[in-house]
């Protein structure tokens, strides 16, 4: 039955093609139909990826004019400038914060994704919806909300004070997450990127066949060992995909460190932004963003070499 439908469809398609061939394309194009078919994609890539990237590459080798304009020469000065101790520290800090953000979102996101994947069908969609709800509010407003919570005279501090917890260890703990500390930046980053970790993890955990866990239990594996030997390895594609989705944007993030880190925390993202908008040194900003890109690419490559490419990222 289905075959007969298909043949009719095919026939219709062939007829359509034949009638179209009235408008003949030049023979050179006809001989490379593949290129023609992907040309919209190519165009898209050229306009949105190749040209902007080429611009940055070119500018990164240029020099800054007296009034902040770009003087097109070829010099490695800006790259050399980035070898400065101060900039290297910024790069290292960025790597470290992005790494911590990835690890923390993984540790927080895994149980959440696991819980959602194991919930009943009706609850699943509600929980997934709740994970996505924050996206409906402007990112800046959500960050301001966190600032209100974490300020030294903010909501959390107020509650702790009222409960008499604002002394000794309590005060020290609050000091770790207080606004304008690296801890606050980390909280903001983890908060912002958590959904990017949860969704791919959920996808891979949801696919996990429950009977595999039953089989593991049946063969003598206690729940924790069954998790380590079956669930964890089978959710590895989700872990890889989530980690890439969090790590890559976290490396370039500048809004959160700007607002929640104050002047104390400067990451590569802030550096790039400041060079473009404040110092008006576009070449240095471009060079910094090139370094950021290469660094991110390198880390991602090493990571995927080790753990394989996250299947969840493959379409």
């Amino acid at each position: 039955m289905s075959t007969s439908i298909q043949t009719t469809d095919d026939r219709r398609q062939t007829t359509a093609l034949r009638s179209w061939s009235v408008f003949r394309l030049p023979s050179s194009v006809r001989e490379t139909p593949g290129l023609v078919l992907v040309s919209p994609t190519m165009l898209w890539l050229v306009v949105f990826l190749v040209i902007p990237l080429a611009l940055i590459v070119v500018i990164s080798f240029a020099a800054r004019g007296q009034y902040g304009d770009v003087v097109y020469t070829f010099s490695l000065d800006k790259y050399r400038a980035l070898l400065d101790q101060q900039y290297l520290q910024i790069l290292l800090d960025s790597l470290w914060i992005a790494f911590l953000t990835t690890v923390l979102t993984l540790l927080l996101g895994y149980p959440l994704a696991y819980f959602i994947a194991r919930s009943g069908t009706r609850w699943k969609s509600l929980f997934l919806f709740l994970v996505l709800v924050p996206f409906w509010t402007n990112f800046l407003i959500r960050i301001y909300a966190w600032m209100i919570l974490l300020r030294s005279e903010g909501v959390i501090a107020g509650v702790m004070k009222a409960l008499g917890l604002m002394q000794g260890v309590g005060a020290q703990l609050f000091g770790l997450i207080q606004l304008y500390t690296p801890g606050a930046v980390l909280i903001g980053m983890v908060y912002e990127f958590l959904p990017f970790m949860v969704l791919p993890l959920y996808t891979s955990l949801e696919k996990l066949d429950v009977s595999l866990l039953e089989a593991a239990a049946d063969l003598g594996a206690r729940p924790w060992r069954a998790f380590l030997r079956v669930t964890l390895p089978l959710s590895l594609p989700g872990i890889v995909a989530g980690s890439i989705l969090v790590f890559v944007p976290a490396m370039g993030m500048f809004v959160v460190p700007d607002l929640m880190g104050g002047a104390k925390t400067v990451l590569v993202g802030n550096l790039v932004r400041n060079q473009f908008l404040v110092a008006r040194d576009w070449p240095l900003g471009s060079a910094a963003s090139m370094v950021l890109m290469v660094l991110t690419l390198l880390v991602t490559l090493l990571y995927t070499r080790r753990f394989g490419f996250g299947e969840e990222l493959r379409v």
Partner: protein, 370 residues
């Protein structure tokens, strides 16, 4: 007396009903499975056979009742601590492990020394005729091969009881029939108790030492295959196992186990073996298997269970010819005649509309109470 491998007493498993209330998926089931026995739970889908098996494995907790394995009460023992292993319907092989790692998994959990694991895994693979396949991934194997690996993975643990949940369901007919005989031979070779869940009556009859027929959570009859087929104790079992003709009526007379039944709406009296306790005047069903009825083209010289009719339909199916005979406007019987003589002239035996006589011996008809 042989040792009891599995003892199930008054087992009940309730599930919440989506429409409110509860359903008894398993309804007061009592079973005793002997050591080394090939025991089948047979019934239509939803009859509670798989739930019963899952309770034996420890995946479901009974609502009430007792489950003992090798004499030990296991009601609250988790699956990983039970001396049973299961072959899953979809095999449930670990896709990220090789065949060897799959089979070795259970032994690693027991912390068996490495050298012994290797030896036992190789032996288990050889047992299911999959030696040398250890390096493959499950995805590289055919359905039949995956089935063997699932079997090896369970057997390598040397369980007291092996639980099998329709393990042949996904295989095609030829392979299934082959595996049936192989499984039976394997079971006799290793001497492990098999508890086998299936909805395929032929499969159950072929392999089992004993069968429990289940319907709607209840065990209706337990017995060896021949007993289940030849002496079903109720209408459901007679209907579910093989094919049969049913005649409904009232019990008119009883004489040393032989029951005479007045067929409702017909002027017919049928004589058969009384099954279970029956009383006169009771509504009963007579079951006569189609291969046990004889067809005659001339009036036979018998008076009991002899009725005249007309051939309504003939179906040639190779080994048999299936003949439908109409005895009255409201009564037809299905009769299987074995094709003992090779001929192409089917019309030589029976033709549509032909007048025929049917007979059967009283011991070939069973009188069942409802």
């Amino acid at each position: 007396m042989a040792d009891v491998a599995v003892e199930v007493r008054d087992l009940v498993k309730q599930f919440p009903n989506p429409g409110g209330g509860v359903v008894n998926a398993v309804d007061h089931v009592t079973l005793q499975i002997e050591d080394g026995e090939f025991f089948s739970l047979l019934g239509p889908s939803g009859c509670g056979k798989t739930t019963t098996l899952r309770i034996l494995a420890g995946f479901e907790r009974p609502t009430s009742g007792e489950v003992r394995i090798k004499g030990r009460l296991v009601n609250s023992v988790p699956p990983y601590a039970r001396p049973v292993n299961m072959v899953f319907q979809n095999y449930a092989l670990f896709p990220h492990m090789t065949v060897f790692q799959n089979v070795a998994f259970g032994l690693e959990m027991e912390r068996v020394p490495k050298a012994e694991i290797e030896r036992r895994v190789e032996a288990a693979l050889a047992l299911v005729r999959m030696a040398g396949m250890g390096a493959r991934r499950p995805a590289q194997l055919s359905g039949g091969q995956q089935q063997r690996i699932a079997l090896a993975r369970a057997l390598v643990k040397r369980p007291s009881v092996l639980l099998l949940d329709e393990p042949l369901g996904a295989l095609d007919l030829k392979l299934r029939q082959e595996m049936q005989l192989e499984l039976k031979a394997l079971q006799q070779q290793v001497g492990i108790t098999f508890v086998y869940v299936t909805h395929d009556q032929e499969e159950a009859l072929t392999m089992s030492d004993r069968i429990a027929v289940m319907n709607q959570g209840k065990v209706l009859q337990i017995g060896p295959p021949a007993e289940i087929y030849e002496r079903p104790n109720c209408r459901f079992v007679a209907d579910f196992i093989g094919e049969t003709n049913f005649l409904e009526g009232t019990l008119a007379r009883m004489e040393d186990g032989r029951a005479s039944v007045e067929v409702t709406g017909e002027r017919m009296q049928v004589v058969g073996l009384a099954q279970g306790a029956l009383h006169l005047g009771q509504r009963v069903t007579v079951s006569v298997r189609p291969e046990k009825i004889r067809l005659h083209t001339t009036p036979p010289q018998v008076t009991t269970n002899c009725f005249a009719g007309q051939v309504q339909d003939i179906a040639y199916i190779g080994s048999d010819t299936r003949v439908v005979v109409r005895l009255s406007p409201s009564l037809v019987l299905s009769i299987w005649e074995q094709n003992r003589i090779s001929t192409l002239d089917l019309e030589a035996t029976f033709t549509r509309g032909q007048a025929v006589w049917v007979t059967w011996l009283p011991e070939n008809a069973l009188v069942l109470g409802e």
